[in-house]
């Protein structure tokens, strides 16, 4: 027994050793955006409570949303929702047995990342143009 311990056995390296495949990145991002959206439910509740509480409370919400920090938070929220929604559809397709081979999963992963960024930018362009939001 004791002699065997003198020969170090090969160890499996931990996660940070590996090059990140797209599927690994989308997987952990799905979880991270889910957690971010959980915090975002507070914004949703705040929005509803402010609307219910009258013009003054609602003006406060709008001022916070139009603040640069508020806009960054909102952009993160919108992108998180876009990513989690699109990647969620990808997960549902996998559950049904579609697109689970490596090549397709890599392609849909890149598609989801690209589309989610475009969707978030499109939402903000629309908000600036039609919603009277100021940069």
């Amino acid at each position: 027994m004791a002699e065997q311990k003198q020969h170090p056995r090969p160890l499996s390296p931990h996660l940070q050793i590996y090059r990140w495949p797209v599927t690994m990145a989308t997987s952990i991002t799905h979880r991270a955006t889910g957690i971010a959206l959980s915090a975002g439910t507070l914004l949703l509740a705040w929005w509803l409570i402010a609307a219910a509480s009258g013009p003054e409370a609602f003006a406060k919400f709008q001022a916070a949303a139009a603040n640069p920090i508020g806009e960054i938070v909102l952009f993160g929220f919108v992108w998180s929702l876009a990513f989690h929604l699109l990647n969620g559809i990808r997960h549902l397709a996998w559950d049904l047995g579609y697109g689970f081979d490596v090549a397709t999963a890599n392609r849909t992963g890149i598609l989801v990342i690209t589309l989610s960024v475009f969707a978030a930018i499109a939402v903000f362009i629309f908000a600036y143009k039609h919603g009277g939001l100021h940069l």
Partner: protein
């Protein structure tokens, strides 16, 4: 040879006694949230920059109030299930795990009740 009793095997509920319940409910709420969150995103986008009275008018329409109520409840349930998976994966100490699971549900109940009351106040006036 399996040490599992035949009764346990046919029940198919596994070691946690809940079988695929968590998995299945996560998927069902996910499917429901696909159209609901698209509806919410489009509605919210139309209300960007609008005064609070426009938001009130939107939710005074019964259909919009109903959809928003359904959206909030299913969203929060999906959130509880998702965060529960995260807690199960990363929190190993039993005491902390139970505390986190309770806070998870408590958070959802508080946010849900606050949102529904706000929604009712707007819808009923």
């Amino acid at each position: 040879m399996s040490l599992e009793t035949p009764l346990h095997r046919v029940q198919g509920l596994g070691a946690a006694h809940s079988g695929t319940q968590h998995f299945w409910r996560q998927r069902i709420t996910a499917v429901a949230l696909v159209p609901l969150s698209i509806w919410f995103a489009v509605s919210a986008l139309n209300l960007v920059g609008a005064p609070g009275s426009d938001v009130d008018m939107f939710f005074q329409h019964p259909m919009n109030a109903a959809l928003m109520g359904i959206f909030v409840v299913i969203l929060l349930y999906h959130m509880v299930l998702g965060l529960q998976s995260v807690i199960d994966d990363y929190v190993h100490h039993d005491g902390w795990k139970i505390l986190c699971l309770l806070l998870n549900r408590g958070f959802a109940i508080v946010v849900g009740v606050a949102s529904i009351i706000a929604l009712l106040r707007i819808a009923i006036g």
